[in-house]
């Protein structure tokens, strides 16, 4: 992999006394969407948080755009060009939709064309522009969290389970929005449980289990190979399809 935007090598993370990540090796190619799959508790969220410096890696290297970031503080990593949509969305519910977007625009205000583009992807946000974000529905909050992450161009988007708790129709909208985002050649690392969603969007896939990457390759190959799916992701997979 010559053109990896992000590369984790032998990353270990301890949380308190627990040894959660046990040598994660992961390559995220530039300009493409990498899906991170794995059963509950496999360490997907911990991987994203470690990349962003919210947990400190206890061993290993994290190279982002040619720089070692494993020892850096979260704001510094974010300013280097990483945006994050956490599992709980991290919406500021006391702020309006507008303020949630503004706070993410580090330049002070979003660039007008970009804002128009983002609001075009998520029209509900424009409708509730001056409403307190706490009043949004779960799906709308998820859209706000994603819109916030893309309001300024970033090199890498880390997105944790964007389809969690969403109705199938909304998941369809979400797939469209990500397709549009992919056209901008943003690099995305996306954690997912929903295999339909993952296979519709992923270029690459990595599967985690017990704090390690146990499979990495092309998404299309995994989507075709039912046996491999079964082996890596288990029976629970069928319930997602």
């Amino acid at each position: 992999m010559s053109d990896a935007l992000l590369q984790l090598s032998g990353v270990h993370t301890h949380i308190g006394h627990y040894h959660i990540l046990q040598g994660v090796d992961l390559v995220v190619p530039r300009g493409e969407l990498t899906m991170l799959l794995g059963r509950n508790g496999a360490g997907k969220t911990t991987t994203l948080r470690t990349i962003l410096g919210m947990w400190r890696a206890s061993a290993g290297h994290i190279a982002f755009d040619g720089q070692e970031i494993a020892a850096r503080a979260t704001p510094e990593i974010a300013r280097a060009g990483v945006a994050y949509v956490p599992e709980n969305m991290g919406i500021f519910s006391g702020l309006t939709v507008r303020e949630n977007i503004l706070v993410a625009a580090r330049a002070g205000a979003p660039e007008a064309r970009r804002l128009q583009w983002v609001l075009g992807l998520f029209p509900a946000l424009e409708k509730f522009w001056n409403l307190s974000a706490g009043a949004l529905s779960g799906g709308q909050k998820q859209m706000l969290a994603i819109a916030r992450a893309m309001i300024e161009p970033r090199k890498l988007l880390l997105i944790d389970e964007p389809t969690k708790g969403l109705a199938p129709a909304i998941i369809g909208n979400m797939i469209e929005a990500f397709r549009e985002l992919k056209r901008t050649e943003t690099t995305i690392l996306l954690v997912e449980q929903n295999f339909r969603f993952a296979s519709a969007l992923g270029d690459h896939v990595a599967v985690m289990d017990d704090g390690r990457i146990v499979h990495a390759g092309a998404m299309a190959a995994l989507a075709k190979d039912r046996d491999l799916q079964q082996r890596l992701l288990g029976l629970s997979l069928d319930s997602h399809q």
Binding site: L52, M54, A73, T74, P75, A78, R79, Y84, P86, G90, F92, S93, G94, L95, R98, E99, L102, V103, A104, A105, R106, G108, A109, P110, A112, L115, W129, N130, S132, A135, R148
Partner: protein
């Protein structure tokens, strides 16, 4: 950091002020308390006098508490040393007001006010600068460790009080009010003390200033976001510690301002005067909800009004009444009046 700038380039409806996050019920508490007190007190002039006294005291407590609630809200830092900045502010004011005794005694309200304004500037600059040192030396090493924060900030408070004894001597210092805001304006049977009106005015200026900063500047936006979810603010690329230092310094300077106002109200300064009001300050912050300026404002007015009313009606239960108020409010809203914003 180019964060203190108006950012309204999206062409959408402008910021509204005050922004109350849709929940206005607690705002009714203050008028309700004031109206309820009238039949209990009976006499109209006494009711007016007590209400003004309560509002003035409430404004002073608000000034002292408003910065601390943001310090709590933003970094979960328990700063028991806050009272030191109140005392130090009052003592720093004497550096200006005692030499300027002639201005204070002049029969010219503008000279009186100029002397006080100068004292306030010196007190706020001094306590703000001390706040910067205090944050760096005392608070920063104990981020995230509540027990240590309590011990270490208490230690800081004791050191500060001893420093006052060393620098100003152990005896009380008299700080008389200037001529122009001494005494009362009498309207019919009602006497309105001038200094209390002045204190209400200063309190309103502080409230409006804080709301403007919080609701109409980028810095304020980051503070509100940080109070709610500081981790996410960091993930968006902002250094929450720098934000916190700013808030800590501003909170210390406001405590200094509160100290000047409180010192002029008492007209006598002692090193422990900051610590004396801290009990009320903590009650107010808990009632209002950690991190909420509006909650702090309403809580301060409620606490001070109640203290004045019960002090008149049933002097023996005055402090107990505030504890009771806190318990009732927490039964109604366990996070305080506007505590929902904090996770």
């Amino acid at each position: 950091m180019a964060i203190v700038q108006r950012s309204d380039t999206t062409g959408r409806p402008a910021w509204r002020l005050p922004r109350l996050a849709g929940d206005r019920l607690p705002l009714l508490l203050v008028p309700a308390l004031v109206l309820l007190a009238l039949p209990l007190i009976g006499a109209f002039p006494a009711w007016i006098t007590l209400t003004l006294a309560g509002l003035a005291m409430g404004m002073m407590i608000f000034i002292m508490a408003s910065g601390l609630t943001l310090v709590f809200g933003l970094m979960d830092v328990l700063n028991f040393g806050h009272g030191a900045f109140i005392s130090i502010g009052a003592f720093l004011a004497t550096l200006v007001l005692l030499p300027l005794a002639a201005w204070m005694q002049a029969d010219n309200i503008w000279m009186n006010l100029a002397a006080i304004a100068l004292a306030i500037v010196v007190a706020m600059a001094g306590t703000g600068a001390l706040g910067l040192v205090f944050e760096r030396v005392i608070v920063r090493p104990v981020y995230g460790q509540h027990l240590k924060q309590i011990l270490v900030t208490m230690g800081g408070l004791i050191i500060a009080e001893q420093m006052i004894h060393v620098l100003w001597g152990p005896q009380q210092i008299a700080l008389p009010l200037p001529t122009g805001i001494r005494g009362a304006i009498v309207v019919g049977e009602v006497a309105l003390e001038r200094y209390r009106l002045f204190a209400v005015g200063v309190g309103l200026v502080v409230l409006i200033g804080m709301l403007l900063v919080l609701n109409r500047t980028r810095l304020g936006l980051l503070i509100r976001a940080g109070v709610e979810n500081s981790e996410m603010v960091q993930a968006l690329g902002y250094d929450i510690r720098r934000l916190f230092v700013l808030v800590f310094v501003a909170g210390s300077a406001l405590a200094g301002l509160g100290g000047v106002m409180w010192g002029l109200y008492r007209e006598v300064l002692v090193a422990g005067m900051g610590m004396e009001v801290m009990v009320l300050v903590f009650i107010v912050i808990i009632i209002g909800g950690l991190g909420s300026v509006w909650g702090c404002f309403i809580g301060a007015l409620m606490v001070a009004l109640l203290a004045n009313y019960t002090g008149f009606l049933m002097p023996k239960v005055a402090l107990g009444s505030n504890i009771l108020l806190m318990v009732l409010i927490l039964l109604w809203r366990p996070q305080g009046l506007y505590g929902g914003a904090k996770r």
